[in-house]
């Protein structure tokens, strides 16, 4: 489970661990973007890969960036805030396996981003043991 928690620097980490939960609702909507926990997500995992759903209401799909680097998935972008200003957000996930980045599919509908990525096929190589 640790694998899915934020890997970027998180000043609230101690608090999280004490509470067992992230007090997202204590932040007003403007500040939530900057917590490092925006967007909130559901992460589904299977042998074959990953599916991530993220709530990105108020984010222009053109300003949304989904990237995969080896085993890290990053969702970042710009959200229009309550007062009309723009705030940048970024959230990264460390995954327990490598992803086939060329095959990512991402779609946004009604402020919900759905990303599906298959797992990278790895070859299992048998290593011969020499007798000495």
């Amino acid at each position: 489970m640790r694998a899915y928690l934020n890997t970027i620097s998180n000043p609230w980490r101690v608090f999280d661990e004490l509470m067992g939960d992230f007090p997202f609702d204590l932040f007003d909507t403007a500040m939530r973007t900057r917590t490092g926990r925006f967007p909130r997500v559901n992460v589904w995992e299977s042998e074959g890969g990953l599916a991530v759903q993220a709530e990105v209401a108020g984010v222009d799909p053109e300003k949304l960036d989904v990237a995969v680097d080896a085993n890290v998935l990053t969702i970042k972008g710009e959200k229009e805030q309550a007062d009309g200003s723009r705030a940048e957000f970024q959230r990264s996930f460390n995954l327990p396996f490598e992803l086939a980045d060329a095959q990512i599919k991402a779609a946004v509908k009604n402020g919900l981003l759905t990303v599906t990525i298959p797992r990278k096929a790895t070859e299992k190589r048998k290593i011969a043991i020499e007798k000495l």
Partner: protein, 125 residues
């Protein structure tokens, strides 16, 4: 947020959480703009009504489930969004317009300029 692993069946059995959606009002010269965040809600699912100068919004989100996958991080529950706003007398309720974009419900509440009081129920969707 939950760190328990859940299957698709587990998720389907969970009850909807009732939530007040994030919203904001900006005042302009001609009208107020009320923006309500309703991620994962399609236009058809938004129930928008006006009664006695109270504007009510009810909507349920739809989150796809993935068969044969395990939900390992659960921060987005199935929710029922509920919000109600008392509209001040100087809002012309007949001219209320609603639009839906990027998971936001954007309501334009025009300011009245000497119109006779009327009671109208408005449903959009």
């Amino acid at each position: 947020m939950s760190l328990m692993k859940r299957t698709e069946q587990d998720v389907q059995k969970m009850n909807r959480v009732e939530l007040t959606p994030a919203s904001r009002v900006l005042e302009g010269e001609e009208a107020y703009t009320l923006t309500v965040e309703l991620p994962g809600v399609s236009e058809k699912e938004i129930e928008l009504t006006l009664e006695n100068r109270v504007l009510s919004i009810t909507a349920e989100n739809t989150l796809e489930t993935f068969k044969d996958y395990t939900l390992v991080l659960h921060e987005l529950p199935e929710v029922r969004y509920r919000a109600a706003f008392d509209l001040p007398e100087h809002v012309d309720t007949a001219g209320i317009k609603a639009a839906n974009k990027n998971g936001l419900l954007i309501l334009t509440l025009p300011k009245r300029e000497e119109v006779k009081p009327r009671r109208i129920a408005i449903t959009a969707g």
